[in-house]
Symmetry: C2
């Protein structure tokens, strides 16, 4: 099943301890689609300026991304420049220019309106609500958000949560949203406001899925070289939602596997600048990494081992 | 098999958002033993002052802790006072008085010298080396350390690592020791200097075991209420080493299970002040929690799930 993804389509200039990249493909929708198309077709809705190298997205189209919903407007594309510190766990934003993204009003093409799976990337919750208004019968709606909207448009965000089945946020955002430092309690607070499933992304520490009566934990994949952390969270969301759309169910086993595929996709995102690692990613890579996740977490409890 | 544990036997005064406790049992050796004795007898070597309420350790003795190696000297016991912040992830040290611990020179009682399993709690690496000099034929030596020794007595610490099979440290310590922000690379650097196994504790984010050709990850147990984080790392070490001593082997399956028992014990440590939670802990609690860890991390990869 195809996923409708609404989010930013941006250009990033990145500096890391290992090098720099100028005006490369970025944005939540691009990272999401690069990861999700491994599992499922994706229809992207976004906006770019005249300066955007749309032909650079051809590799996504070749893998099943429908780009018809990317509107081209006069003006400049969303641009972000950042510099990562030595340990890659913190970064400075050097420049943000919203450009045409400042006035973005998502218009869903008619032939996208039958979408069953919807991913609402991190944009104004008022716009996220407008997207849902345009979709005929969404079944699995997932969304991301950030501190700026949690603080600045909380009421709209809480309205959105009532329409969302899966919230994907990082740990700081979950705590801020619920005003609760304990993640388990924060997840309960959030789930009481709509989402059945809360996925908390913790970067190198992995991710946790909180459901009604179970919790699933996936580690971050330990890499010898984290090249560029940009987009890892969106790639996680892409792997997670892509897998679920492909599976066509939200049963517990599928949700657990979706977490692992999400973490695998997040780990690929950081292995190169921009979405470059996804250009050459093939199924055997993904299969191998998922089995490595299994080996990293599997243990057997022998009855005698705990009869102490 | 009995474990020889050398470390601090202290009194702690703790403030958390949930309450305060004055001059309660603390110290690395006490938390280690409280957790390890669930699995294996422990022989403690440490020092206390005249003010120490040794009878409060009776519950440890009843569970198989041999206290003969706790020397009582004139003066004051090691005392630490700390206050945890709202989110329990950071704390201020209000007071540290080393007391008799300042001149601690571990003397291993003759009947402890046949120890096969040794845990060297976080003390001066020169003293950790002196302990090993007194043990006849140690087989499984594990040690902890901290930033103070990594910076201040690095040469002695590197000498110690050559004699150690398992290093247990937190993530900041691993990075500092190897001068390398990437944990996987840091673990390789450390393993090249002696330890076969590096266990990196990450608090609420769980722990990672790095071995020669495999890695094992265990999450932190998600609790609705973290009451007092003091001693969680030492309780982790106690569960880990206690399980290994009971198993009598360092095979891969035992090491994986030891990580889970370690994380379970760390989670119990934070449920109450001091070692109080361990007073009532029974085997059925531990068994239940370990099965919950299994449920938190288990997933099956179906071949069709990754033939995408």
């Amino acid at each position: 099943m195809s996923i409708l993804c609404v989010g930013s389509v941006a250009l990033d200039s990145i500096e890391t301890p290992f090098g720099r990249a100028e005006r490369v493909l970025g944005g939540s929708a691009v990272f999401f689609a690069a990861a999700a198309t491994v599992f499922s077709p994706v229809r992207i809705v976004g906006v770019v300026g005249e300066d955007y190298p749309l032909s650079d997205l051809d590799f996504l189209a070749a893998r099943g991304a429908d780009l018809e919903g990317i509107e081209r407007r006069s003006g400049e594309s969303f641009f972000w420049a950042g510099r990562y510190h030595y340990d890659l766990n913190s970064r400075d934003t050097l420049e943000t220019r919203l450009g045409v993204f400042a006035d973005f009003r998502p218009r869903i093409p008619d032939r996208f309106k039958d979408a069953r799976h919807v991913f609402l990337g991190n944009i104004d919750p008022a716009l996220q609500n407008e997207v849902l208004d345009q979709v005929e019968a969404p079944e699995v709606v997932a969304c991301d958000t950030m501190d700026y909207w949690i603080e600045g448009n909380r009421k709209e965000l809480l309205g959105l949560l009532e329409r969302v089945r899966i919230l994907l946020v990082n740990d700081a955002e979950a705590r801020q949203l619920a005003d609760e430092p304990n993640l388990l309690k924060a997840s309960i607070w959030i789930r009481e406001r709509g989402p059945e499933i809360v996925v908390v992304k913790k970067g190198e520490h992995g991710a946790i899925l909180f459901a009604e009566d179970w919790v699933f934990f996936v580690p971050g994949y330990p890499l010898e070289r984290v090249f560029d952390p940009t987009g890892a969270g969106d790639a996680f969301a892409g792997g997670f939602m892509g897998y679920l759309a492909g599976a066509g169910t939200l049963d517990e086993g599928s949700l657990r596997r979706a977490m692992v595929f999400g973490s695998a996709m997040g780990s690929y995102a950081v292995e190169d600048f921009s979405v470059n690692r996804f250009r050459t990613l093939d199924v055997s890579d993904v299969r191998r990494r998922v089995h490595e996740f299994r080996r990293m977490t599997a243990f057997e409890t022998h009855p005698e081992a705990i009869d102490v």
